[in-house]
């Protein structure tokens, strides 16, 4: 699978590394070149300095040939914006997006993105740890 990852922070780097080890073709983008230090020396994918919200930068990263796009920068709005660029403008078939704010995460999911909120998930996991039993899942 060809995957473009926007943001080489802890999460982005970890995803890039894991997928690379499994033999997927990975391109990681970050505006800050020092971020690529988070990748292991064995990383076989491509790194590109650039902003994932910028059309030409995405094109340079080969967005049109990608099977998946993942937005993992620190900014919820940036992640949403870049994900919609990938989806609506470049028609990438799988677009995954990290959103810290649970409310926005829910809203963006309703709009049709594949979203993930470490806040909601982390809260649930930690409450479960404390109480020693799973929190009942809300049925919507």
């Amino acid at each position: 699978m060809k995957v473009l990852i926007m943001g080489c922070g802890r999460l982005g780097a970890r995803i890039a590394w894991t997928l690379d080890e499994q033999g997927h073709e990975i391109v990681v983008m970050d505006t800050n070149p020092t971020a690529f230090r988070r990748l292991p020396a064995s990383f076989g994918g491509t790194t590109i300095i650039g902003n994932g919200m910028d059309g030409p930068a995405l094109e340079k990263a080969g967005v049109e040939q990608m099977d998946a796009f993942m937005a993992t920068t620190q900014g919820d709005n940036r992640n949403y914006f870049a994900s919609q660029m990938a989806k609506e403008v470049y028609h990438v078939s799988r677009v995954l997006c990290r959103i810290y704010d649970p409310l926005r995460e829910e809203l963006f999911r309703d709009i049709g993105l594949e979203t993930f909120s470490p806040t909601s998930l982390g809260a649930r996991v930690m409450v479960d740890m404390l109480l020693g039993k799973p929190t009942p899942v809300e049925v919507k």
């Binding site: 919200m53 910028d54 919820d76 919609q84 926005r104």
Partner: protein, 225 residues
């Protein structure tokens, strides 16, 4: 109309001033407390402090009852998110300022109106929404520099009942097509009478547009209503 303006920079501030002057209910949502204080000095309680990208801030601003949300911060990604939240809350119309013109396509795909610039352009777009003004819609600028506009005649239009011949149009202006309220298009001649609800497609010069608005619609300015 109740209008929520996200972002109290120059654009947001002047936009609010204009809209307040036209008797709209306006609320600016601005992140920086110092800027909020500055705006409050000029506009009183038409400003509130908060991050408009937060769902809870917009809810507290009563976004659900807004007729329009204008997202005019300096960040395109924030403006996109603000408009998306507003739409999810049922706001019928959202307008975003885009700072990078290349982003226009994305906003278009998301069904959000955009404007690349400053107060006047945003006002121009909003104006179409105000009572008298969805009746004059710029369609196209022709290669010759002439403009093609569509104008829908309101019931109280001064030209209703008159024939095309009786209307003295400005130079280089022409009523090229009339679509009646039933949706039937006709090419008018001098004897064609104008009826309320007719949509006229007019070729004209930019500088004659205000004149046409006055002659065909009666009000000089959409915001005066």
């Amino acid at each position: 109309m109740y209008i929520v303006i996200a972002g109290g920079g120059k654009v947001g501030f002047h936009l609010a001033q204009e809209l307040l002057r036209a008797n709209n209910e306006v609320l600016i949502v601005e992140r920086e407390a110092a800027r909020v204080a500055q705006i409050a000095e000029e506009l009183g309680d038409s400003v509130v402090q908060g991050d408009s990208c937060e769902v809870s801030t917009l809810d507290a601003a009563g976004v659900a009852r807004a007729d329009l949300v204008a997202a005019v911060t300096g960040d395109d990604e924030d403006n996109l998110v603000i408009c998306e939240i507003a739409r999810k809350r049922g706001v019928p119309r959202t307008v975003a300022r885009i700072n990078n013109p290349r982003n226009e396509l994305l906003f278009k795909r998301r069904g959000i109106e955009t404007t690349v610039s400053a107060t006047q352009a945003i006002l121009g777009q909003i104006e179409q929404e105000l009572p008298t003004s969805d009746i004059m819609i710029p369609l196209l600028q022709l290669a010759s520099g002439l403009e093609l506009v569509e104008m829908k005649l309101p019931d109280n239009s001064p030209v209703v009942g008159r024939s095309v011949r009786e209307i003295l149009l400005p130079s280089e202006s022409l009523i090229s097509l009339i679509v009646d309220p039933g949706g039937v298009p006709r090419i008018p001649n001098g004897d064609t009478r104008l009826n309320a609800g007719d949509a006229l497609v007019i070729v004209t010069r930019q500088e004659s547009m205000e004149w046409l608005r006055e002659a065909f619609i009666g009000s000089r300015h959409g915001l005066d209503t």
